[in-house]
Every structure is written in C-alpha cells, then in structure tokens.
Amino acid sequence: MIQAVDYIRVLPEIVLTLFGVAIMMVEGALPPRASRKPLGWLAFVGTLAALAATVYQAGYPGMAFFGMVRVDSFSIFFHFLIAFIAALVVLSSFEYLDAQQIRGGEYYGLILFGAVGMVLMSSAVELVLIFIALEISSISTYVLAGFRRRAPSSIESSIKYFLLGSFATAFFLYGVALIFGATGSTRIYMIAETIQGGKHSAMVFTAVALMFVGIGFKIAAAPFHVWTPDVYEGAPAPVVGLMSTAPKAAAFAVLLRIFFAAATPGWFWPVWISAALSMTLGNISALVQDNVKRLLAYSSIAHAGYLLVAFAAARDIGISAAMFYTAAYALMNVGAFAVVSHFASAGERYVTLEDYAGLGRRSPVLAATLTIFLLSLIGIPITGGFFAKFYVFSAALKSNLVWLVIIAVVNSAIAAYYYLRIIVLMYMRDAREPAPTVQNVSAPLGVALALTVAATIYLGVLPGRVLDYASRGAALLVR
C-alpha cells in the first residue's frame, strides 16, 4: 500500500515539478514582450522550497513506492546539493538572459525539471527508474545547451551533446538489461543479494562495464570525455555551470550506488585507468587552451579523474571523500562559471584568456571572487578544494593506491599552472585595447557569488560537519 510517508519521500521531486509546471503556465499567460524575471523568481522560490522539502524529508528515512526510492543520509546529501546548485544557477541566470536577450521562460522550467531528474537519480534504487531520471536530466540539459539561439555554436553544442548523450545512455541501458539477465532483478539491493550469494558470471562484468561507459559519458571521465570542451564552449555559460556540476553529482551518486550498494564486481581496474587518464588528459589539454570555457571544461574532466580516485579507494572512507569532493567541486565550479557568464556579456564576446587581462584593476571584486574559485580548484588551504583533495588522496593512500596518488599529485601540480595563469593575467597584465567593458554585477548574481564564496570557504575552514554527514551516508550505503 502507498501511504502518505511515501509521498514525503519524494517531496523535493513533487515540489520541483509543481513549480516547473507553474512556470510553464505563467509563461503562457505573460505578454510576449514582457520580462521573464518573475518566472526566474518563481523558479528560485521553487528551489528554496525543494531545499525545505529536503530538510523535512530527512526526518522520514526509508524506502518508498514499493522499494523504488530510498531516502537516507546519502540521498539527502545529494538532494540538498542539487537543489542548492539549481538555486545558484537560477540566480546567476537573470542577468545573463537579459544580456543575451533570451526571452524564454521555458529556461527556468527546464532547470527545475532537470533538477527533478537529478534529485531522483540520487535517491532511486531501481535501475529502470534511475534510467528514466537520467533521461529527464539529460533531455533538459540538451535543450538548455541550445538556448543561445543566435549563436550557431550553441545549437551545435546541443546536437553534439544530444547525439553522444543518447549513444551513451543506450550503453547504460544495455548494461541494465544484462544485469537483469544475470541476476533477475533491477533493484539495487536485490542485485546485491544475488551477487553476494555467489557466482559472478561474465554477464555481470560486462553489465558493469557497459553501465560505467554510460555514466562515464555523463561525468565526462576519459576516455568518454571528447564531447565536453565543445559542448561547454557552445552552451550558455550559466547552463555550463549547471551541467558541469549537478548532473555530474547525480551521476556520481548513481555510480556509488551501483558499485557499492549493489556490490558489483570487476570495476576496480577500469575505474583506476579511467581516473589516471582523465586527470592526465584533462590537465595536459587544459594547458594549451585560450578559451576560458574550454579551459574549465578540461579542468572539469581532470576533476572527474580526482573523484574517481576516491572510487578506487573503495572503503566507506573513499565514499565519503567522493561525496565531499562532489560538493566542494560543484560549489567552486558553479561560482567560476557564474563569473564567466557575467564577464562574457552580450553574445558571449569575452571568453578568451586575453580578455581577462587587467581584470584585477578594472573590477577588483569580481577578480577576487574568481581568484578564490580558481585557488579552490587548485586545492589551496582554507578553500573547499583543499580538504576535498586531502580527503580523497588520504583515502587512496590508506587503500594502498600509491601509484594513483602519485599520478594525482603530479597532476595537481600541473593544474596549478593554468589556474595561476588566469590569476596572473588578471592582476599582472594590462588590459588589451580596447578593454572589454565590465557591467556592474546585478543583485541576484551578487547574492549567488557571495553564497558560493561563503560555501567554498566554509568547506575549507570547517569541513567537519559536511564530512560527518557524508560519512553517515557512506556507512548506510555499504551496510
């Protein structure tokens, strides 16, 4: 029987859906020339309501809807993170949409619908439901990537993301079919029982490999990362802020569930190799980029690699390190892309590294904010990025993954070069002539930036509470 508590366990999804539908209905009622700001505020309220729903939901852990959804500290952690990212992205979109003269309220609706899919991915414990949720989040991001309609590169980014994304989900789905064939179930905890019960047939190994391919595309881990720079370059900057963080966080949640909750075998070496490749390829390619969005795209590939190091560590300490890393990475990346989207101006004119020269003098606050995010991406102390890397590397060392840690540390050193290059450009160089004009930061974007800076520094100074919560979730996941 379905009881009221079942609905509480999917409350954030319900709230986000309702607000998304409301936005679509108000959008139709607004006159065509009117500003779409009210819809943005509605979306912001929706994400806040989803945060409240998540907090409320935390008091009702358990399974819901006939074992389809499981609310525990693990899923609450990701719900909170995803709703928070969505709120930040909505705040940083107001000004951007005005600057690009995009007048489509569907933009905000799709962000909320996409968030429903991502939130559900992190709490679903049935592979077919995970697949549907994955599709909801993917389809909304495919469309959002094509929102800069005047720029051909945006549509191109959309079609590339769409084709490679659906190609990847087909692999994921074949993996689901194989695991269903091998174990007779698609429920993660039942799969775990069957697998722990005994034989690992070749089918299980193939299924795990196929699912890793599918999710690997979503998290942009090498060797499935080739789409990332193109898609990030063409898509609207705030949307990149969203899709480089929230769907990735959700996909990592799925991967954690498949690997650890379902206790599937045979993924250690693929993950090891993929982690090493992602870090190395991401960082080396980032060295030669002159477009900020492409540079951050390669940096996000590298960060996916660091995260996979935590997967290879494979104890509950590794899981909590991965969760902490996801949160820290998401916050600093959303922040960095918010700055990029503000600075890009109409038509995304200013996105090359040259344009950032002299920013420190012309717009000190903006430059300082970007500097904090970049330092956090490097992993400098008192920023979230430091503890994120520290936990991941120490978890890996405790699991005797010495070589992987060496590769990761060398890579972090390489990465420091290109992040510092941007900082040096901003502070030590004069602007080129004519200097790019920098608009004043609007209030919503200011709030978003302040929140991300505060959160990044909070994670860097007092990581204890978040890490504790993550370890509680991790302990529940392994059982």
């Binding site: 379905i2 999917v10 999804e13 859906t17 539908v21 679509m24 819901a64 809807f65 006939f66 389809m68 959804v69 995009i102 007048r103 489509g104 569907e106 609706g109 799709l110 619908f113 996409g114 429903v116 899919g117 559900l120 049935e126 077919v128 439901l129 549907i132 949720a133 599709e135 909801i136 389809i139 909304s140 495919y142 469309v143 094509g146 929102f147 309609r149 959309s158 194989l178 091998a182 047939s201 070749a202 089918m203 193939t206």
Partner: protein, 169 residues
C-alpha cells in the same frame, strides 16, 4: 496451443531484422533508411510474439512504427534530402568504427555463449491471455513511480521539442 515451427519463424524474422538493419546503415537516402527501420521494428514485433509478449508486440507496432518512425519521416520531409544524398555518406574513421563495433558484438556473443549454462533451455510459457492484464497491474502497482515519472519525461520532451523547433526565443 503449442508453438508451431518456431525455429523457421525465428530464422526468417531474424534474417529480416538483420538485413533491414544493415539497410538502415547502408542506404544513401534517409527515406529508404526509415523504411528499412520499419521492417526491423516489425520483425522484432514478431519475435516478441514468439517470446510470449503480445502486448509489447502491439505497442511496438503502434508506438514505434506508427509514432517514432512517422516522426522521422516528417522531419526528413522538412529537410532538403536531395543535397544530403550527394554528400559523402561515411566518415573517414569508418574502418575504426567498424572494427570497434565488431569487437563489441563479438564480446556480447562470447558472453552469451559462455553464459548459456545459466539459461534454462525450455522456459515455461506465460499464460498469454492474461499478459495485458498482468502488465497493466505491474505498471500501476510495482512500477507506479516510474510510470508517473515517465509522464514528466514526456512533459520535458514536449517543452524541449517546442523550444528547439521555435524560430526565436
């Protein structure tokens, strides 16, 4: 009723499915590809009948052939195919692609042949007259949440399709 001459049906239908799938890839004209796709889908519907999934077979014909392929044909109609046919059809890495896919296929076949032992040789038949009823029951009980969420997926698809097809936003 006992199945009649199933091996022949199986070989016939699979031959049609595979050959028309090759047609989907090889034809120059996208309309021909779409028609070849219809043949693959129809023969798969036949195979579903042989696997005691009559409802799935029906939905396959109505939804896939009647819905998705028709959508493809509509879009092909909107687009200038004359020019598409004159362009070169295959990309430069076709050999690499072919080899990769062949390796993948070989892997699957190896897995299935090796894993054959876990499959029962003679599976029990479902009582087919109840198939639709049972599937409906599962959709509304065990799979209620995915069913509802699927409607959200369709809503997102509608919104997305309208946004992308609009001339300006």
């Amino acid at each position: 009723m006992d199945p009649v001459a199933t091996p022949y049906f199986f070989y016939g239908l699979s031959a049609v499915a595979v050959l028309s799938a090759v047609g989907v890839i090889m034809r120059r004209n996208p309309v021909h590809s779409a028609i070849a796709l219809i043949f693959t889908l129809l023969s798969l519907a036949g195979l579903y009948l042989m696997l005691y999934a009559p409802f799935v077979a029906g939905v396959q014909i109505i939804l896939y052939v009647g819905g998705i392929v028709v959508l493809f044909l509509f879009v092909i109609m909107l687009i200038n195919i004359e020019r598409m046919q004159r362009e070169y059809q295959f990309n430069k890495q076709w050999l690499v692609g072919l080899l990769a896919a062949a390796a993948l296929g070989a892997l699957f076949v190896a897995v299935y042949v090796k894993g054959q032992s876990i499959f029962p040789q003679h599976a029990v038949r479902f009582p087919e007259q109840l198939n639709t009823q049972q599937v409906g029951k599962m959709l509304y009980v065990d799979y209620l949440l995915p069913f509802e969420i699927a409607s959200l997926l369709l809503l997102v698809a509608i919104v997305g399709a309208v946004v992308m097809a609009k001339k300006r936003i």
